[in-house]
Amino acid sequence: MKTFYKLKFIYPLLASFIIVSCGGVPEEKAELQGEENVFSVEEVLEMVAKENDVTRTLYTKAIVGKGKLQGMKFDEDWRKDKVEAGPLPALFLRGVATSIKRGPVPLGLYLGSDHPVNAANKFEGKQAELFEEIKQNQEPQFFYDDSQQLHTAMFADLASAGACVSCHNDHPQTTKSDWKLGDVMGATTWQYPKDSLTYKETIAVLNSYAKGTVDIYMEYLDEIEHFKESEKPEIGNKWPQDGKYLPTAEVFLDSVKKLSSYETMKHLVSLNKK
């Protein structure tokens, strides 16, 4: 028993030694240690917003605009079973945003306006205030959203195609019917939790947007597959400007990359000059 009392201080020390020698759970941040943050969140959001501009313009002009001329339909209720149509550009963007949220990159993307077709998309508060400035100068606006603790950027969403103007002016729910080409119809809002990003994180943001584009476009092609009454366009290498055709997701994404890669690459290689 005396020995027990002599050694009683040894047991806690032994227990502590066992716990410490076991090592803790590896820190996730350790994976990123050694990687320098090379882009500010503003730079990255500008890059991805530029990609979005190109993608949306291509979809609106080459798919929706030309597709309508071929008799293809695009509808806000495109997901409903009885509606045999593709997503309108605003819903195409919503689909991209949904896909991004399903992935691991903490990027948020939203579309709003002061005269939205759907009243639920009307800007309020800080966004409404900044949107007034965007309408004046078309310059991006940045702020920190305290409530969500997210870095936030807003970019002008322009009426870049005749289809934007005619659909919004003629929509039964529209609150403004004198839109014209070039108008600031709304703004995209982007959010990200960090103030600066590593090269890898930047690429992940750009890739998540590209994946979102493919995902929603694939959903559209999948809907076409289930058309019962409407004539199905042929899906391949051709575009609606050539007839009742639609490009595959790969062909669509290739075209986006061709149109946007120069601007994005300029930003990415500018690292060497920093």
Binding site: M1, T3, F4, L7, I18, I19, V20, C22, G23, G24, V25, P26, E27, K29, R79, D81, G95, A97, T98, K101, R102, G108, Y110, G112, A119, A120, K122, F123, E124, G125, K126, Q127, A128, D145, S147, Q148, L150, T152, P172, Q173, T189, Q191, E219
Partner: protein
């Protein structure tokens, strides 16, 4: 070294019995067949067949590592603590089975700044605000007037309803919204155009508590079963 004083024999026997009983209880409660005794309450509607691990995944590392990491964190030697025992359950766990492209109110949308006032009243950025688990119900939110937080300015052009949406809103009849519309928009059914044809509040209330679905069983997407979820992983 471990010789026992005759005066402490009963204490030692009691201690050993305690250890054996404790170990036995631990082992028995760890068995999958006894999960219901560990659960803090009955599973919500549709989740009756789920095992604990479907939501409560083991935390990273073993228990000793978790103790060390959290002790280090408490003394400032580590930036972040770690989950102890099991990982925190988040909305991502729900979405692994319930994520649907046609969701008209996906939780991510409410992270946008313009909803900051609305989410002070109802935190729609997470599923558990309305679907708190272990209550044996479908929707655990007390009131059904939640549409008022975002749709005060709604007006429907060529309103198909016999009493206009604008009038219903002016009269603050917010409970009527879900008498026609299912919140997540996954049901295939004809939305009523006359108030007399809408689902009664009794039916709705019963549904929210876990009863029969008044919107019908025809849905565009069905949630994954545990088996389907496991196969997907």
């Amino acid at each position: 070294m471990f010789s026992i004083s005759p005066l402490r024999t009963r204490q030692v026997i009691g201690g050993i019995i305690g250890l054996v009983v404790g170990a036995l209880v631990f082992v028995l409660l760890s068995l999958e067949s006894n999960e219901e005794y560990v659960s803090v309450g009955p599973m919500n509607t549709g989740h009756e067949e789920l095992s604990c691990f479907a939501c409560h995944a083991d935390a990273k590392g073993n228990l000793i590592q978790q103790v060390q990491s959290n002790t280090s964190h408490a003394f400032g030697f580590r930036e972040e603590g770690v989950d102890f025992g099991t990982q925190d359950v988040t909305a991502n766990n729900c979405l692994e089975c319930h994520d649907r492209p046609n969701d008209r109110h996906p939780i991510y949308r409410f992270s946008e700044p313009r909803f900051s006032d609305a989410i002070k009243n109802i935190d729609a950025t997470t599923c558990v605000t309305c679907h708190s688990e272990h209550h044996g119900e479908r929707v655990t939110l007390g009131k059904i007037d939640y549409c008022m937080n975002c749709h005060q300015d709604l007006s429907v052009e060529s309103d198909p309803l016999d009493i206009s949406h604008k009038d219903l809103i002016a009269q603050e009849k917010w409970e009527t919204c879900i008498q026609c519309h299912d919140f997540h928009g996954n049901h295939r059914y004809e939305v009523p155009t006359q108030m007399k044809d809408t689902f009664s509040l009794k039916l709705i209330s019963n549904y929210l508590k876990g009863g029969k679905d008044p919107y019908g069983m025809d849905k565009k997407y069905t949630a994954l079963s545990q088996e389907e979820w496991l196969n997907k992983k």
